[in-house]
Amino acid sequence: MIDVDLAPAYADLLGRGYLLTVAISFGAIVFALFLAVPLAMLRLGASAKLAWIAVALVEAVRSLPFLVFLLLVHFSMPLIGYRTPAWASGLIALSLYGAAYFSEALRAAYRAVSRGQLEAAAALGLSRTVVLFRVIGPQMVAPFAPVARVNAIMLLKESAVLSIITVPELTHASLRIQAETFATVPTWITVALLYWSITAALATLFTRIERGLSIGAHRRSVRRSEVAARYLDLAPAPASSGERRNAAAVLQLPRSTISRGKSRHGTVGR
């Protein structure tokens, strides 16, 4: 069923689509992270009016399907005097869309750091910059990183929507190959695997960053009685592993461990 002869002819098209998908989504992730910082600062800042504007913008963007937002951006570029090619509209839209999500995550991470930390830093007379970079910043990594990972993967996946405005990225390439060869199944499988590889790479990258930067993050391991495990545990966990992980967490406990309130509900990600 899988026609190997077709592969070389279309490998080039697929390869270019793959590279464009990687370039656009990684570019958008970086731009979005940079844009998110001022947005989050506006929301947390002293000016109530600016904070309100930032909230309205972020919430409006987050409530839209990416396709709608993309077309809005694409069609409003001429209004401000630019007729951007599809890929540029796509990159701009993806960056702005991501910025809304990342800024929300940054704000939540800032709120997750306990008030006492800020007050103690102020009481010690530390400057605002020092407070932000040395006290609050490092503690924001643990709550921010998992959400950032989810958002980054979301941006990668949303980049497939760019195919609708004819950006020749991976999904677009696959649609073209499929239309020309009718080799539907092998094409989709190949493309799915390619996306899967980028998602996995992104997830690994963010998990590395998470592990490298975070302090005071400790894994909560649930140990259940045998009876309860029958109904509440999904995996047959080896008896000793929970204990070992617990012990490791205790041994690595840094001096500054802050018992951060429950991670009970929030940590599920796509």
């Binding site: 919430e59 409006a60 987050r62 409530s63 839209l64 399907p65 990416f66 396709l67 709608v68 937002f69 077309l71 809005l72 069609f75 409003s76 001429p78 209004l79 993967i153 990668l156 996946k157 949303e158 980049s159 497939a160 929507v161 195919s163 609708i164 999904t171 649609l175 499929q178 539907t184 199944v185 989709w188 493309v191 799915a192 996306y195 899967w196 998602t199 996995a200 649930v222 259940r224 009685s225 009876v227 309860a228 029958r230 109904y231 509440l232 545990d233 999904l234 995996a235 047959p236 009970r264 509900h265 940590t267 599920v268 990600g269 796509r270």
Partner: protein, 229 residues
């Protein structure tokens, strides 16, 4: 080119009417997602390693590929296997599958919040497995999951816009049909965007309310309800 919202005012009723298919698909996909999530969770509770592995790969594949791709596969590939679904059903199925995988993960996290004692008490009372699941675990699980389910509704509503790519005439495609005629894409899309935003912001408000009531201790909430009535 200027922005003139007045030109699309006559089309607003048509766009509002197009909400019906969007919301219907979203509701159907969410229900399918919940049912699928329950099924996946129950299957994983069997702790049959090969089955769990298959479910793990399925979940990972669905999370690892763009929703648009899942929708295309459901629409273009299923017919090759003899399952020829109309665009609406194929799209709903695809979004439902994505939701099922996500909600199954939420359920997994939710199960971690249920204390051992609940199940142990059920077993001690001699309840059977289905009663323990149906009467003890599930009600508490749904209560814990309620805000996530409502949030998932907004995700699903946003995903329905992708169905325009497989010719489902929902809100997004209706907007495209309108601006194909009146050449006013920006204005038309702004109206569609306002409708999406209204639906999703309302849902987010419900989720936030549920989240607050979840974090309140139940006994206190009950006491307040009793005292006010």
């Amino acid at each position: 080119m200027t922005l003139d919202i007045a030109v699309v005012l006559p089309e607003v009723p048509r766009l509002l009417a197009a909400c019906v298919p969007t919301l219907a698909v979203a509701a159907a996909a969410l229900l399918a997602g919940l049912a699928g999530a329950l099924l996946l969770t129950l299957l994983r509770l069997l702790k049959f390693a090969p089955l769990s592995a298959v479910i793990g790969v399925l979940t990972s594949a669905v999370f690892g590929t763009p929703p648009l791709l899942v929708i295309f596969v459901s629409y273009y590939v299923l017919p090759l296997a003899g399952i020829d679904l109309p665009p609406l059903a194929a799209g709903t199925l695809a979004i439902g599958l994505i939701s099922a995988c996500f909600l199954a993960e939420v359920m997994r996290a939710g199960l971690a919040t249920i204390p051992d004692g609940q199940v142990e008490a059920g077993v001690a009372l001699g309840l059977r497995g289905h009663a323990i699941w149906g009467r003890i675990i599930l009600p508490q699980l749904l209560r814990v999951m309620a805000p996530n389910i409502v949030n998932e509704f907004t995700v699903v509503v946003k995903a329905t816009a992708l169905l325009s790519a497989i010719t489902v005439t929902e809100l997004m495609r209706t907007a495209q049909q309108i601006y194909a005629v009146n050449y006013r894409p920006l204005e038309t899309l702004l109206v569609a965007a306002a409708i999406y935003a209204a639906v999703n912001l309302a849902a987010s408000a419900v989720a936030a309310f549920l989240d607050r009531s979840r974090s309140r201790p139940r006994s206190a909430a009950g006491a307040r309800r009793r005292s006010t009535s």
